[in-house]
């Protein structure tokens, strides 16, 4: 089922790339339309899965990736409409396509442990997924900032200079995306801790829950992520770390997020998956 959104995301990615190269407004509108269709199809898929398992399908890593891509697409569409800038699409869509391939080709079964049947858990995962989507946007905004910064600084006004929004706008959007992401990351982590405490008391025999600690890779890396983004938020407001420094921090933060999201979920962790 996740194949249809994947195909539409891929089509949108191609059209965004053509728009970036050719800069024709009509091509840009087609790209946005395709992405809207992809997001709609994806909403439908997630809606169907929600009805099927009676909760938002995020307990299984593959489905969580699908939900992440969906949130990323929606956040990007919001950004595009708010800023009236389409140039970022070519940087965001490849992430969406690459990640959506996972649920499309290895769907996984949403077969949640009864222990997860708590509103705390859903808030925990949904907040984190939304935070990660914001961080993905921030990272791409940072990347484009650096690309354009280099061209202006080195006085080689070339490909990106003619296509990207101003440094000021990229920096401001990066700041906002990091701020929103950081807020949801904080909510997600706090709720996770609260829920873990409750769940441990309720189900003392669950080895998964008992094993959770800071040594546990997924939790450790999540806290590392929180540390990086907290520093970025703090450094921007008090130390004047804007522009290139903030851009690199966003990229670093998102690299850690991806690390936590994919390899750690699939290969390292044995217990943060409840199946």
């Amino acid at each position: 089922m996740n194949l249809i959104p994947l195909v539409l995301y891929a089509a949108a990615a191609v059209v965004y790339a053509i728009h970036f190269a050719k800069r024709q407004p009509s091509v840009g509108r087609t790209a946005t339309t395709l992405l809207l269709l992809a997001a709609l199809a994806h909403t439908f898929v997630i809606g169907m899965q929600t009805m099927e398992v009676r909760h938002v399908p995020i307990a299984n890593p593959s489905r969580a990736v699908s939900s992440f891509v969906w949130l990323l697409a929606l956040s990007y569409l919001y950004l595009e409409m708010a800023s009236d800038e389409r140039a970022m699409g070519v940087f965001i869509l490849p992430i969406a396509v690459g990640l959506q391939a996972i649920p499309a080709f290895s769907p996984g079964i949403e077969n949640a442990d009864p222990v997860l049947d708590s509103p705390w858990f859903w808030v925990h995962v949904a907040s984190l997924l939304f935070a990660y989507a914001s961080f993905a946007l921030a990272a791409m905004l940072g990347l484009t900032y650096v690309l354009q910064f280099k061209e202006i600084k080195k006085k080689h006004l070339g490909y990106f200079y003619t296509r990207l929004p101003s440094l000021h706008i990229l920096d401001a959007m990066n700041s906002r995306a990091v701020m929103v992401g950081w807020l949801f990351l904080t909510i997600g982590v706090v709720v996770g801790v609260v829920w873990m405490g409750q769940a441990r008391a309720l189900t003392p025999g669950n080895s998964n829950l008992q094993a959770m600690s800071l040594n546990y890779p997924k939790i450790f890396i999540a806290l590392l992520t929180w540390g990086v983004y907290s520093f970025e938020v703090f450094a921007r407001s008090t130390m004047g770390w804007t522009g290139r420094r903030a851009a690199w921090l966003s990229a670093l933060g998102f690299a850690i997020v991806l690390l936590n999201f994919l390899p750690v979920s699939y290969f390292v962790t044995t217990s943060h998956t409840f199946q």
Binding site: I152, K153, K155, S166, L167, H168, I169, G243, R244
Partner: protein, 443 residues
């Protein structure tokens, strides 16, 4: 009806001739009206900018148009024809349409791709249209040229990239800061270059302009001229801390802004980028200032090379623009040919309708038993039959691929139906052409 164009441009006439033939400083509307009284100008538009004065007419007798319009220019500007006639260029029909398309696209401009010309072409047409000096021919031609201008702008990079140093600097500032309103600029030096730059910044919406000079009186004078604020030379460094854009243009032989100066203020200004434009030769700003994070330093050579690059990029787009114009010209020529079929079409319709009416009249007695409602229906049905019979031949006649076939076909139709087409029907022809205008594809 034929198109005819006569005029001077920066390619054919020196500036003193262009100045004497200029209409833009005088009442353009009155000029078009005066021109329209000439016998060879059935429709007329006058396009006058600092680089060109061009007269477009639709004429039934193009052989007389040149002489006629030269006479008009001579009378209107009170100049003997021999003073400007050698500089005139003229062309007709397709060549005239091609010229206007190239002008509207910015291909004929002094700076290729400059954006103002399309607006000027629109204005010229508007003025003539308001005075009722245009008709179906020029109206179609000019509207088509607006479409061509727009297509070239959106489909090619002909108008892209700043092609003067001051515009290049402003474009850079926008790429760094986004909107410029609310930004602060510091102008160091109060000479000619500084004045021009300060004025340019002001028109671009820069919030506050601070001016400093070694001669305080000069700074004061410039500040009051551009609505800025003058500060003493010694305070310039502290003004630097609150500035986003710095322009230097002094005659100093040694750098006046060093890395130490900028670094000293960086504590106060750290989060904000600083864009320094050094317009002085020898340079006013130490080159190493550009190494500071968040400082963008551009000197005269840097800006000049951007301008050169943009110019060569525009040149590379000319071929693309010419292709678009060639395409549009083919479409326009098809429309024009369809117009030459119009007299035949009109005559054909009149003939068929006359037959219909006379037959209805002949049957008048037999139809007298019908109610008025039924009679109206009979009238309607016969009219529809005629319409439908003529629809296909009309379309075919208008869509013939070339001039020769067009002539042969219209001649055949004229003979088959014994039609007489001529000047007497020309008003009806124009009206018919006017009504078909909307059906023609514009792009």
């Amino acid at each position: 009806m034929h198109l005819f164009l006569l005029g001077v441009s920066h390619k054919t006439a020196p500036v003193d001739v262009r100045e004497r033939l200029d209409f833009s400083s005088r009442d353009l509307g009155a000029a078009v009206e005066a021109l329209a009284t000439r016998p060879s100008a059935a429709e007329s538009v006058v396009l006058s900018t600092c680089n060109r004065s061009e007269i477009y007419v639709a004429s039934r007798d193009p052989s007389r148009a040149r002489e006629d319009i030269t006479g008009f220019l001579s009378e209107y500007h009170s100049l003997p024809p021999e003073t400007f006639a050698p500089h005139l260029f003229s062309c007709g029909d397709e060549a005239a349409a091609r010229h206007l398309f190239r002008v509207a696209a910015g291909l004929d401009s002094l700076v290729v791709g400059e954006p103002q010309i399309l607006g000027q072409v629109k204005e010229a047409f508007q003025t003539a249209a308001e005075r009722r000096c245009t008709g179906p021919m020029l109206s179609k031609l000019f509207h088509w040229s607006f479409g061509v201008g727009k297509r070239v702008r959106t489909e090619t990079a002909l108008g892209e990239g700043a092609v003067s140093m001051s515009f290049a600097a402003v474009a850079l500032a926008r790429k760094i800061f986004g909107r410029l309103d609310g930004r602060r600029a510091l102008v160091v030096g109060a000479g000619e270059i500084s004045t021009l730059t300060a004025e340019h910044l002001r028109t671009q919406g820069v919030g506050e302009i601070v001016i400093t000079s070694r001669t305080p009186a000069n700074a004061e004078a410039l500040a009051s001229e551009v609505g800025g604020r003058a500060v003493a030379w010694d305070e310039a460094i502290s003004a630097l801390a609150t500035s986003d854009i710095v322009v230097t243009a002094t005659g100093s032989q040694r750098p006046i802004l060093t890395r130490a100066h900028v670094e000293a203020t960086s504590g106060r200004r750290r989060p904000n980028p600083l864009f320094i434009i050094d317009l002085a030769v020898p340079r006013d700003v130490e080159a190493s200032v550009g190494d500071i994070e968040q400082v963008f330093l551009y000197n005269v050579d840097d800006l000049q090379s951007i301008v050169q690059e943009n110019l060569s990029r525009r040149t590379a787009e000319i071929a693309h623009a010419e292709r678009i114009i060639a395409e549009e010209l083919v479409k326009f020529a098809t429309w024009q040919r369809s117009r030459s079929a119009v007299p035949t079409v009109v005559a054909l319709r009149q003939r068929f309708d006359a037959i219909r009416r006379s037959e209805l009249q002949r049957l008048d007695g037999k139809l007298s038993g019908l109610t008025p409602d039924a009679r109206a229906r009979v009238d309607e049905v016969t009219r529809l039959i005629v319409e439908k019979l003529l629809l296909e031949p009309t379309e075919q006649l208008k869509a013939l691929p070339d001039e020769e076939t067009q002539v042969a076909y219209t001649e055949a139709v004229n003979r088959l139906f014994r039609l007489r087409t001529g000047e007497s029907t020309s008003d009806a022809v124009d009206a018919a052409a006017g009504t078909t205008r909307a059906d023609q594809p514009h792009k």
